[in-house]
């Protein structure tokens, strides 16, 4: 299958292929054993370990890559960043999710933060000294940002945040949180530092990605100040949607990494497993499965890579990123399911890694807007009619 992958990657530049090769060597050596370790432990790495992992991927610019060099970032184009990110997801999807959250916090702070906020909050992220969680969903509010219930109340210069946030990645290890909440009668983003805000977190059990932190966060009059409002007060809805636009492509790429790993397992198994006197991969039915899997995977990858290119152009592309997100995440479920089927009984046991890829793939159609929400975004942009 290496020949198939290499042929497809001929569209990458020499520099992209070299970076990918170097990143792969590092990530396979450093992360493959850790992915196994945390899968078996069933919980994510602690904060200090996660910071050291962030520092490791930052050697390739995966934490700061989305912001320009003049702002202290690695300033990588999104296409190149995406190629490396997909590879990370293939090797350790749980870490990829944590990196996605941290790198998009970097992106948000750089885009929306003032000089003081950048000094206090962006710089420590660039140095992998602190961890940020971005808090949008709530128990009764899933993908629709307009309906968030968490409220922030001003008392002089102080702001007190009260509410409950759900499905918060990196929540347990976070040092501070960017909280989407109601302030001054509008949706706003407010930074709450754990030192002063003293918010609590509770790790949630998930069916997959058990090495990635997903938490419930509790803000009980969590204290922060007016200086911690990120961007415009009341402008949080637009700001959040802008973040989603980019993040959705990376959720799609996470799924592509997972599906790629599942496909590789399936091809290997189809060649190794002999039944009825020949490798099962020699049967037309199995080859049909594999051909479907690799075609859907490539289509999803190309949709995501187009999204990356559009983001780099700086044009509005929420339709295209929504297309990429729903298609890639749903296709990964399909592909991982087929990979399990090819493995037969072995596919549903802990003895083979394909079951982990299947469970991980299952998680991905939900975050950053479910498949149904993506379709409503696309439908609205096609018709001009809001069906939310």
């Amino acid at each position: 299958m290496e020949n198939v992958m290499a042929a497809a990657q001929a569209i990458y530049t020499d520099e992209q292929r070299m970076l990918l090769e170097n990143f792969r060597k590092m990530a396979e050596a450093e992360f493959t054993p850790l992915a196994e370790k945390y899968e078996n432990l069933g919980h994510p790495p602690d904060a200090e370990t996660l910071k050291s992992l962030f520092a490791k991927v930052e050697e390739f610019g995966l934490i700061s890559g989305l912001i320009p060099e003049e702002d202290g970032g690695a300033g990588i184009d999104r296409m190149t960043y995406g190629i490396l990110y997909e590879e990370l997801a293939r090797i350790w999807a749980d870490l990829a999710i944590a990196v996605l959250i941290q790198s998009h916090a970097v992106f948000a702070l750089n885009l929306l933060g003032n000089a003081a906020q950048k000094e206090a909050y962006l710089k420590p992220l660039l140095r992998s000294q602190r961890i940020c969680a971005t808090c949008i969903s709530e128990p009764e509010v899933g993908s629709n940002v307009r309906e968030v219930k968490t409220r922030a109340e001003r008392e002089g210069n102080k702001i007190f945040v009260t509410g409950q946030k759900l499905w918060i990645s990196n929540g347990a290890q976070s040092d501070f949180a960017i909280v989407v909440c109601n302030l001054d009668d509008g949706i706003s983003m407010v930074i709450v530092d754990r030192d002063t805000g003293r918010y609590e977190s509770r790790e949630l059990r998930k069916m997959g990605l058990v090495g990635a932190s997903t938490c419930e966060l509790f803000f009980d009059r969590a204290e922060t100040t007016a200086e911690h409002v990120l961007g415009n007060a009341g402008g949080g809805l637009f700001q959040t949607l802008k973040l989603f636009e980019s993040a959705r492509v990376f959720v799609g790429l996470t799924s592509i990494g997972i599906a790629q790993a599942a496909l590789e397992c399936a091809v290997k198994y189809a060649k190794d497993r002999t039944q009825h006197g020949k490798p099962i991969g020699g049967h037309q039915l199995i080859q049909g499965y594999l051909a479907d899997m690799v075609t859907h995977l490539d289509a999803a990858r190309l949709l995501c890579q187009r999204g990356l290119q559009l983001l780099d152009l700086g044009v509005r592309c929420d339709t295209q990123t929504s297309m990429a997100k729903w298609y890639a995440t749903e296709m990964a479920v399909e592909i991982a399911g087929k990979a399990v089927q090819i493995h037969g009984g072995n596919g549903i046991t802990k003895e083979f890694p394909v079951e982990r890829h299947f469970r991980n793939a299952k998680v991905m159609p939900i975050p950053d807007g479910t498949t149904e929400i993506q379709k409503l975004v696309i439908g609205r942009n096609l018709t001009g009619l809001n069906a939310f």
Partner: protein, 382 residues
């Protein structure tokens, strides 16, 4: 085979009284049985429940009275099975024995075997497992390597079986293995009735599934001695005996009701506030369920009439697994609520369990690919 070879099933109303009796029993027995336990469907294990069911005469229903059975029809047994599955009752303790091992012993066993074993199955006392698949012999059952060599007074067995459901708690295993070298790939196979509690040199170790649960086992036979009277049926006739079990195994309501608890939870959650789009999807789901039920009941009628509906059973199992596997996808598309294993939200907990259970539905009891090969052959394509 013609595509119309599914005769109409018996009228549903013929068994209304029995159905009401079973429902009343289940309403009491499972009053406090939570949805995430019901979601395990026929993988739920409770010896106590199986015994109580047997006391009502609903285990070994089709077995002759002289062997502790109740001489009822396969269609009556079908009604009971359907109600048990719809309620998510924990039935696996007696399920395999009642469905196929008991009928196999009655058909092929010696008089001693019948008298010793069958009444205890009908009493809900015995849990059976099936030693069939091996590490290198899954879909290709004829590649079985486990071998029973004839020795003085019996046989010595060596080999490894995998995916042996509930072997760690079962009382008996029906072992399928090689007893002779044969040029015919299907020849030289035999079946044995093994008392797992009284046989030495059998090592049973768990195989954990993707939900983290222990249903499957690896069973290693290390020079295991079996007495001569453990042979079940004719020596060398194992292949045809196994094949005749499959129609029983492949067409029952367990082949389309395994995700039923999730359907119930989904409908409960949507309730009267369901949107038009949600109502349409639930309607489509219900229509598929009803068609599958009619096809499955048609096969039950054929079995009851002594026919061999192996082909129709393969069709029901393949379509049934597709249906069962589609239920979580449909649930996710209708309700934006993530799956949470073991949580307080019963819908989320049932979804989490079912999501991880469904991949096995097109693997157990014959993979989708094998079934489609059987269907193709039945249509004259192979």
């Amino acid at each position: 085979m013609t595509l119309t070879a599914f005769p109409p099933p018996a009228p549903d109303t013929d068994y209304d009284i029995l159905r009401q009796e079973v429902r009343a029993f289940l309403a009491v027995e499972l009053a406090d049985f939570p949805p995430d336990m019901r979601a395990k469907s026929w993988n739920g294990f409770s010896r106590d429940f199986s015994r109580k069911l047997a006391q009502r005469g609903w285990v070994g229903m089709t077995f002759p009275r002289e062997y502790g059975g109740h001489a009822r029809s396969a269609l009556e047994r079908y009604v009971v099975s359907e109600e048990l599955l719809a309620a998510g009752a924990p039935v696996i303790s007696h399920w395999i024995a009642d469905r196929q091992s008991g009928p196999l012993i009655l058909a092929k066993g010696t008089e001693e075997q019948k008298r010793a074993i069958v009444p205890r199955i009908a009493a809900g006392e015995l849990c059976f497992c099936i030693g069939m698949s091996e590490p290198d012999s899954g879909s290709d059952l004829a590649a079985t390597r486990t071998v029973a060599t004839e020795v003085e007074g019996g046989f010595r067995v060596n080999g490894t079986k995998v995916w042996t459901t509930y072997a760690h708690v079962a009382d008996y295993m029906i072992l399928f293995c090689r007893t002779d070298k044969s040029d015919d790939r299907h020849g030289g196979m035999s079946q044995f009735l093994i008392d797992l509690k009284a046989t030495e040199n059998i090592q049973i170790s768990p195989i954990i599934d993707m939900a983290g649960e222990h249903h499957f086992n690896q069973v290693i036979f290390d020079d295991t001695f079996l007495p001569a009277d453990a042979l079940l049926g004719e020596k060398g006739e194992g292949w045809s005996q196994v094949m005749s079990e499959l129609a029983f195994e492949r067409s029952g309501p367990e082949r389309f009701l395994s995700s039923f608890t999730l359907i119930e939870e989904l409908i409960r959650l949507l309730g009267k506030d369901a949107t038009e789009a949600q109502q349409a999807e639930i309607g489509r789901l219900s229509a598929h369920l009803m068609v599958l039920r009619q096809m499955s009941r048609s096969v039950a009628r054929m079995l009851n009439e002594g026919k061999n509906p192996a082909l129709q059973a393969a069709i029901v199992k393949d379509l049934g697994a597709l249906f069962e596997q589609d239920v979580p996808r449909l649930a996710r598309s209708l309700v934006s609520r993530p799956a949470v294993p073991g949580g307080r939200d019963s819908y989320a907990a049932v979804l989490a369990y079912t999501e991880l259970a469904v991949p096995s539905f097109s693997l157990r009891g014959g993979t989708r690919e094998i079934l489609r090969g059987i269907i193709a052959r039945g249509l004259g394509l192979r």
